[in-house]
Symmetry: C2
Subunit: 161 residues, 2 copies
DNA sequence: AGCCAATGCGTTATGAAATAACATAACCTG
DNA sequence: CAGGTTATGTTATTTCATAACGCATTGGCT
């Protein structure tokens, strides 16, 4: 990300082979349990996210969509992303206009990210908002979703800087 | 925002008259203290943000820029927004692609928002991240900025729903 | 004053991100 | 297999943001 970053960019290497197949199969069975359909475009976009080494832009997904090099049409990918987000298989990172596969084991969670401004990796973590929003809820707010994105330097890039 | 919201949309009424002039003057003198220049386009965009009842989109600012109805050119407004953000006079709300004037008194702070999905207001509050990021910093991260945006219903809209 | 570097602005054009709208196809379920 | 629902294909458009370049203004320096 930073022009002066020469890291291998694989702080979060993408899945391949058996690991990839296994992750997709897990999503598949999760869908079946809730009568949701992991259709070909949805599966394909999930694969692309899982294979990637970091956050993927929507138009990167569009370009990479066809195994033969044929790009997808934008709505194909945006619809798949909407589905994957709804099911919790992927998250959108607002401050990057980019998407990542969910890295957390648990089923339901509020996603939060530590984003490295040097190498571009985005590490998901489980935030604890209880103290924050006790006050908000006490003031009458009904909080539904929360976006928390911290930006800075990951350990590796911090050392080099 | 919500199609079923019939509120007056003035949960955060914009400034006018003396209050507006005073807010702009405060920004002016803050700039002078740090040798920054509140030039005409920057002042104009700040005015528009302060006058607004809620978050403003960049192209709303562009359209409203000229007192005679003439729109600004996009770079004019985006440059002004960059400046206002840098000085802490305005914040970008990532999940809305929109901008608000800073409502906090203190000089330096990490902005956070409670966004009502019904009436569209965005209330700024001062978050306390200390517990969250003690862990992150301990793990070697150097956190520089944080985006925290909570979405839900404000007290007024919650009652109506 | 005259010069210079730095900063900001005006303008044109383009790039990037996301969605609208509508037709067709696949899938349940009774 | 009929009919409602969900998903996809396709075309076009809208929305959001920046690149690039030349000119103007500012403020320090000699
Ligand atoms: Zn997750
Ligand atoms: Zn890094
Ligand atoms: Zn603020
Ligand atoms: Zn509201």
């Amino acid at each position: 990300m930073g022009v002066d970053c020469h890291h291998t960019e694989s702080a979060q290497p993408g899945l391949e082979g058996a690991a990839l197949a296994s992750a997709v199969a897990a999503a598949q069975s999760k869908c079946e349990r809730t009568r949701e359909r992991l259709t070909p475009p949805r599966r394909r976009v999930l694969e692309l996210l899982l294979e990637a080494d970091g956050p993927m832009k929507a138009y990167d997904l569009i370009a990479a969509y066809g195994q033969d090099g044929e790009p997808a049409k934008p709505p194909t990918v945006y619809r798949a992303l909407e589905f994957l987000e709804r099911l919790g298989f992927a998250h959108r990172i607002e401050s990057l206009n980019a998407y990542v596969p969910c890295r957390m084991e648990g089923t339901s969670h509020r996603a939060a990210f530590l984003i490295c401004e040097c190498c571009g990796t985005a590490e998901e973590f489980e935030p604890d908002f209880s103290p924050q929003f006790a006050a908000a809820e006490a003031a009458g707010y009904a909080v539904r979703t929360v976006t928390l994105e911290a930006r800075g330097l990951c350990p590796a890039c911090k050392v080099e800087a």
